[in-house]
Amino acid sequence: MGDFLETDEKVLISLCKRGDLSAYDRLMQRYEKKVYALCFRMVGNQDDAADLAQEAFLKAFRALSSFNGQAQFSTWLYRIVTNTCLDEQRRQARRPQLLSLDKPLNTEDGQLLLTLPAEASDPLDTALSQETEAEIKTLLSMLPASQRIVLVLRDMEGYSYEEIAQILNINGGTVKSRLNRARARLRDLYLKKEELFRPTVHLNRKERRDRL
């Protein structure tokens, strides 16, 4: 079964190299869920995630002629996806910060969070899981992109250390240490989340000092 799929994929890829778009449609169908999930976990909103996934798929098709089959196609594709996401994060970091309601703001008092009701999507979703989803999104956005990507790949998308090393083109040791740092940081945020998500927004420096 796995062998068949692999052969089938090779056929699809060689058709794509000759410009066959219906073959590319089938290839995308296999990966769109994972590609989109990766983009969403990196940017935290549907519109940007869809844009990034589209951009990555376009880049992949244009670059297919350089894919020589030495690496797994999935690894090659995810590398394009993560690069696209990281480039976008870099671009956004360079841009002057706009006030965004669902992102943490850095004030001189420390971090200030405005929490809004999670976006209504699937009516079947319970309020609880929507809340968790919003929390995850917010706390992930507080990690540096290079740590976030490793944590998302490992702890949310379930890739092995080796796969992550290949996707990000870094060595295994770097994966390990970056993952450890990312987890430690996210754990700290996770333990403080009740405090972070408390509805009242922020205490000024004096009040905070008094409380402590």
């Binding site: 989109y36 798929f57 995850i136 702890d155 390990k176 996770y190």
Partner: protein, 191 residues
């Protein structure tokens, strides 16, 4: 008790990739060290919190919009996607330029050859009856008539080449720029 060497392995332990002696040592340490045990528990709790993240569904038109964009690109390429076109076009431009450039060079070459001749002749014709020393120059040519014929031709040519060259350059330079830009675009799209 040094926890450092164990915290380094915490990730591997939680990912179940620790084995053998390392694993048994780690487990032994956890049974006696509250700090590390607490850290492991906190991380486990964070993992199960992360696992609550729902499955994500890509937008329905994701593939469709990718394919639409690619179709547009393929249409735009059209003839350009013919293999070797990207090399053929600039090669043709270079060839045309060589041919035209040589043609345009032929004329000024003729002129520059003729100039000293004409200058010499003008010196001669300045006087109605050429002095005796002028014969030294005309001695080389079979007769004086031929020299005068040549100089008439060359003086006519000399009036023409600069506007002709100007026109050629006016045509060639934009043509060259146009094609080199197109070439670069092709390369970019292909890359």
């Amino acid at each position: 008790m040094s926890c450092e060497k164990f915290t380094k392995n915490m990730g591997a332990y939680l990912d179940c990739v620790l084995s053998g002696k390392e694993l048994s040592e780690f487990q032994e340490h956890l049974s006696v060290c509250n700090t590390c045990r607490q850290e492991a528990e906190e991380l486990q709790s964070m993992f199960s919190w992360l696992k609550q993240a729902g499955e994500l569904t890509p937008p329905k038109d994701l593939r469709k919009s990718v394919l639409a964009e690619l179709k547009k690109e393929q249409g735009r390429k059209g003839i350009r996607s013919f293999p070797g076109f990207s090399y053929a076009a600039p090669a043709a431009v270079v060839l045309i330029m060589l041919v035209v450039g040589n043609l345009s060079l032929l004329l000024p070459l003729h002129v520059s050859d003729a100039v000293p001749m004409r200058a010499a002749y003008q010196q001669e014709s300045g006087t109605v009856t050429p002095p005796a020393d002028a014969i030294i120059y005309t001695e080389d040519s079979p007769d004086n008539e031929q020299v005068s014929e040549k100089s008439e031709l060359s003086s006519e040519v000399e009036r023409n080449p600069s506007p002709r060259l100007l026109v050629l350059n006016l045509v060639l330079i934009p043509l060259f720029l146009f094609f080199s830009l197109r070439f670069q675009q092709n390369r970019k799209e292909a890359g």
